[in-house]
C-alpha cells in the first residue's frame, strides 16, 4: 500500500492523495517541497536535482517502512523529482494516511526530516547572475562552481 519513488516528471499531489486514501483513513496529511526563489539572500532561478538513484530508492523505502512501524502502520506515499526544476515546481510530495490525525501528521514529518538527512539527492542551484552552486546543508558557505556537465 505504501510506495516511494524517484520520478523524472512533474508530481501530481492529487493523484498521490487518491492513491493512499482509503475508507478507513480519517486523516490524510500532505507535505510539498517546492523550489524557492531565494537561498541565503541569493536570487535563485532554478534547481537541478541529481541522485545516486539505486541508493536513494533503497533509503526512501527504508524511511517509509520505519514511519509505518513507528506510527501505527501509517500508509505513506512519497515521490521525489529528479531533473531541472523551475521556481515553484514541486520537488517532493509526501502523503500519509491513517485512521487518526496524529499518525498522519507525524508520519509526514518523519519522512521529510529523514529524507533530508539520509537520502542521496543533491541540488545544483542556478542563480540570477548566471553562477551555480551545489547546496551543502552542512556549511553556510557555498563556493561557486562552473556549470556541472
Amino acid at each position: 500500500m505504501s510506495r516511494s519513488a524517484l520520478v523524472d516528471r512533474p508530481i501530481d499531489p492529487a493523484a498521490l492523495i487518491d492513491e493512499i486514501s482509503s475508507p478507513g483513513c480519517g486523516a490524510v496529511s500532505l507535505f510539498l517541497g517546492t523550489v524557492r526563489d531565494t537561498n541565503e539572500g541569493e536570487p535563485v532561478t532554478g534547481i537541478d536535482y541529481t541522485a545516486y538513484r539505486a541508493m536513494a530508492e533503497a533509503e526512501l523505502a527504508k524511511i517509509v517502512d520505519e514511519a509505518m512501524r513507528r506510527f501505527g502502520g501509517v500508509a505513506v506515499v512519497v515521490e521525489h523529482r529528479i531533473g531541472t526544476l523551475a521556481l515553484g515546481e514541486i520537488s517532493v510530495a509526501i502523503v500519509a494516511a491513517h485512521a487518526h490525525r496524529a499518525a498522519a501528521l507525524d508520519g509526514v514529518r518523519y519522512v521529510i526530516e529523514e529524507l533530508k538527512r539520509r537520502v542521496p539527492i543533491w541540488k545544483l542551484e542556478h542563480y540570477a547572475d548566471g553562477t551555480r552552486a551545489w547546496v551543502d546543508p552542512t556549511t553556510a558557505h557555498r563556493p561557486r562552481v562552473s556549470a556541472y556537465q
Binding site: 517541497g33 536535482y49 541529481t50 541522485a51 545516486y52 539505486a54 541508493m55 536513494a56 533503497a58 533509503e59 521525489h80 520537488s91 517532493v92 521529510i112 529524507l115 533530508k116 538527512r117 539520509r118 537520502v119 542521496p120 539527492i121 543533491w122 541540488k123 545544483l124 551545489w134 547546496v135 551543502d136 546543508p137 552542512t138 556549511t139 562552481v145 556541472y148
Partner: protein, 81 residues
C-alpha cells in the same frame, strides 16, 4: 593488492572531474582502510578527508569489511527535499 572502483556524485564528481575513481584495496580491507588508501590517490586530493561511504546502497561505518563485487560510493552532504 587489488583495486576497487568507487563512484562519485554531485560536488565530489565535480571536484575530481570524473564520476569514478580507482582506489587500491587489499583482501580483508575495511571502509576505514579504503579512506586511508584514497588519500594516496592524486586525483582524490580535492576531496574531503573523511567523506561518508556507502556500500551496496547503504551508509557504511569505518569498520565495515569490504568484499569483491561490493558497490562503493562516496556520498557528499545530501540536500534533497
Amino acid at each position: 593488492m587489488s583495486v576497487v572502483i568507487v563512484q562519485l556524485f554531485a560536488s565530489y564528481a565535480e571536484l575530481v572531474g570524473r564520476t569514478t575513481i580507482t582506489v587500491p584495496l587489499t583482501d580483508g580491507d575495511r571502509v576505514s582502510d579504503l579512506l586511508r588508501n584514497l588519500r594516496s590517490v592524486p586525483l582524490a586530493s580535492a576531496l574531503p578527508e573523511s567523506p561518508r561511504v556507502a556500500v551496496n546502497h547503504a551508509f557504511a561505518a569505518g569498520s565495515t569489511r569490504l568484499h569483491p563485487g561490493d558497490e562503493i560510493a562516496l556520498i557528499p552532504p545530501v540536500a534533497g527535499g
